[in-house]
């Protein structure tokens, strides 16, 4: 009894922090989402679920939701495929392995905002490095970010390549946790590389896959800084994600209630996605 009481006492700081930084803002956000507050005025009115209903009839928001899912799912897929491939390659001993690992991980340490600006200077129409190369071969320059679809694809690929090192590290840790003995019997029985990979390696990496998919999915769904630096949501509103729209609606459009409704919607999407992924991939963990 005394022991359980002391355990409860020890959890108080964590509970207090979660209450202050997660629970209260969440409740406050839900409350604001039911109002027409402009974000700075001292007065507002409750409008019920009007903001939520408007979300699905506003073409700009629907487009931002589509972009968010496209970037979130695409980014998760690319990072996991390339992260696992790098990890499998770099799990073998060879000369220069540590250097290659460091090079792949290095972009993770660069801020996404900086990464966005670096890529903007590479792909911009006028004086962009990519166009300079194209022009060297006698072709006309291209406004790479001039099409919304292409801009969203750039965002997805750039973020995937930037954070692939993170996925690689998690997979490397998972690979190194697989006992070597597990490969001995199948090797004696003549199992091929692919069979070993699909029958032993992949199932043993279930925890790493789960961690990576959830982390990357949440990161992708919250995509913000790279978009701001690379396209600022443009051309027009075609490359906005939910996070950049939340910022736009709150601070530029002065529509805090609507912005909060979109924020609550994003929270629900992330929660449902995480629970779903957990159930699908993590169902045999018990």
């Amino acid at each position: 009894m005394k022991r359980s009481r002391s355990l409860y006492m020890m959890s108080i700081p964590a509970v207090a922090l979660i209450t202050v930084f997660v629970f209260i803002p969440l409740v406050s956000g839900i409350r604001i989402s039911l109002t027409d507050w402009n974000g700075f005025s001292q007065s507002w009115s409750y409008v019920g679920f009007k903001n939520y209903l408007n979300l699905f009839t506003d073409s700009r928001i629907v487009h931002a939701i589509k972009n968010t899912f496209y970037v979130g799912l695409g980014d998760t897929m690319l990072q996991n495929i390339f992260g696992l491939a790098y990890a499998l390659l770099l799990n073998h001993s060879f000369r220069g392995r540590s250097v290659i690992r460091a090079i792949i991980y290095l972009p993770v340490m660069v801020s996404s905002l900086i990464m966005g600006y670096i890529w903007f200077f590479i792909v911009q129409y006028d004086n962009g490095a990519l166009n300079d190369i194209i022009m060297l071969f006698g072709h006309d320059p291209v406004d790479w970010l001039g099409s919304g679809t292409r801009a969203v694809n750039f965002i997805m690929v750039i973020t995937s390549m930037q954070f692939v090192g993170q996925a690689m590290v998690i997979y490397l840790a998972g690979l190194q946790g697989i006992p070597k003995e597990m490969y001995e019997a199948p090797m004696i029985d003549g199992a091929g590389t692919m069979q070993t990979f699909f029958r032993i390696t992949l199932p043993m990496l279930r925890a790493s896959i789960l961690t990576n998919v959830i982390l990357k999915l949440i990161g992708g769904l919250q995509m913000y800084d790279l978009v701001v630096a690379l396209t600022n949501g443009g051309p027009g509103f075609s490359s906005h994600t939910i996070s950049t729209m939340i910022n736009y609606l709150y601070f530029d459009a002065q529509n805090a209630g609507y912005s909060a409704a979109l924020g609550v919607f994003l929270f629900i999407i992330i929660m449902v996605s995480t629970i779903t992924v957990n159930k699908i991939i993590g169902r045999d963990d018990k």
């Binding site: 402009n38 974000g39 700075f40 005025s41 001292q42 903007f120 911009q124 129409y125 006028d126 004086n127 320059p141 406004d143 970010l145 001039g146 801009a151 396209t231 600022n232 443009g234 051309p235 027009g236 509103f237 075609s238 601070f251 530029d252 459009a253 002065q254």
Partner: protein, 412 residues
């Protein structure tokens, strides 16, 4: 255990002594928080004034806090909490955004020296002067005269037909007539805002100023503004990357003598000069609508300082704002941005500013389109409208309909 307790008591005692000493030393000094958005040379000018004020007034200590790019977002958060700095700059929004939070300054001695061109922009609907303007923002177009000359354009266009003819010549000579930095929605909105004045309110032939003011404007007539901008793009008068370029592209284009016009503020001139001090760029008047109309300039608020009406240090804040209003201080801030000062008792000697004053003397001057004719909050609608129309996400008529609904919502 006793040793530990004794040590804790000793540390607590020492801290108390330090705190008491500190409090005793500053107990008579009132500290004022002065939040400013401006950076660079304007920030340096404010810092110099504050330093001199603090030396001359030992009972008041002004502390400058520069929020930089996040200024407006932070100020909105502070407004929501009704917890603002004692003094703050209003960056063009003294009346529309901050007016309800500012202390009226009509009774200050310096108020009678405010020039009429700027006095009205910091005066609210009740007639209260809500901020001390330091300078007068004069805006038109940015023009590269070397590109004009190389294209065979003999004089700056004074109306839109001449402007289109000049664009055609510039394009034919291999230059970019107009640079649009479409990555920044404010830049696109600035283009539409300037042309709205030309097409809708500054012409003698076609003038809807009164209808816009009294709310009877037929917004289908706004189609002409959208169509005009789209025609600039369709005729190839803009940069190819007009949807994705940022302002650094405009600066570079003007500095390298590749671009003729930019619908941007005078800050662009300073940025271009940093890249190429010899670039022949200057401010020109915005072309009028028809061949019979004359060109004009826009005048408005740029650097202005307000006092939070609920400040606990209101008296001290007023002492500081009176100090700030002294002619030499007004001149210092105005010269930092090469703009005319806001007071008639500030004597200008800077040749660049004298030249701008000369331009104002011979010109028609009006306020910004949105600040003059649109209700508070519509600048953001203008940004949405202009980027949507320019990118093709909305048709011109859909855009005008958006303007109408937002105008009616915000006006009521």
């Amino acid at each position: 255990m006793k040793k530990i307790l004794a040590s804790i008591a000793l540390i607590a005692l020492a801290l108390a002594a330090v705190y008491a000493g500190g409090a005793g030393e500053d107990s008579n000094v009132q500290t004022l928080e002065f939040a400013i958005k401006e950076t660079g040379s304007t920030l340096e000018a404010y810092e110099a004034i504050v330093e001199a004020f603090n030396e001359a007034n030992p009972d008041i200590k002004v502390e400058i806090v520069s929020y930089g790019k996040d200024y407006q977002a932070l100020m909105k958060t502070k407004m929501a909490a009704n917890d603002l700095p004692d003094l703050f700059t209003t960056h063009g929004w003294a009346v529309a955004l901050y007016g309800d939070y500012l202390y009226p300054l009509n009774e200050r001695n310096w108020a009678e020296h405010l020039l009429p061109e700027i006095r009205s922009t910091v005066t609210d609907y009740d007639g209260s002067i809500v901020a001390l303007p330091m300078d007068i923002d004069i805006t038109g177009l940015i023009c590269n005269d070397d590109v004009l000359a190389a294209s065979g354009v003999e004089s700056r266009p004074e109306n839109l037909p001449e402007f289109l003819a000049a664009c055609e010549k510039i394009k034919a000579a291999g230059y970019t007539p107009i640079h649009i930095a479409g990555k920044d929605s404010s830049d696109v909105a600035g283009l539409f805002s300037r042309l709205s004045l030309s097409i809708l309110t500054m012409s003698e032939k076609q003038n809807y100023a009164q209808e816009l003011l009294d709310g009877t404007f037929d917004w289908t007539k706004y189609d002409e503004v959208g169509s005009f901008v789209l025609s600039l793009v369709e005729n190839g008068y803009t940069n190819v990357d007009y949807l994705t370029a940022d302002k650094s592209g405009t600066y570079r284009g003007l500095a390298q003598n590749k671009v003729a016009f930019a619908f941007q503020s005078n800050l662009t001139m300073a940025e271009v000069k940093k890249l190429n001090p010899d670039a022949n760029v200057s401010m020109m008047e915005i072309p009028g609508y028809s061949a019979d109309d004359s060109s004009f300039l826009i005048s408005g608020e740029r650097d202005a300082v307000g006092v939070w009406k609920d400040s606990e240090n209101l008296e001290a804040a007023l002492v500081f704002i009176d100090y700030l209003a002294q002619p030499e201080n007004v001149l210092l801030v105005a010269e930092a941005y090469s703009l005319p000062p806001s007071m008639d008792n500030a004597e200008v000697t800077d040749p660049g500013i004298l030249s701008i004053l000369g331009q104002i003397d011979g010109s028609t001057v009006t306020n910004h389109f949105d600040r003059q004719y649109l209700p508070d909050g519509m600048w953001n609608t203008l940004k949405v409208y202009s980027t949507s129309v320019l990118s093709g996400e909305s048709t011109v008529s859909e855009g005008s309909e958006l303007m109408r609904t937002e105008y009616e919502r915000l006006k009521n």
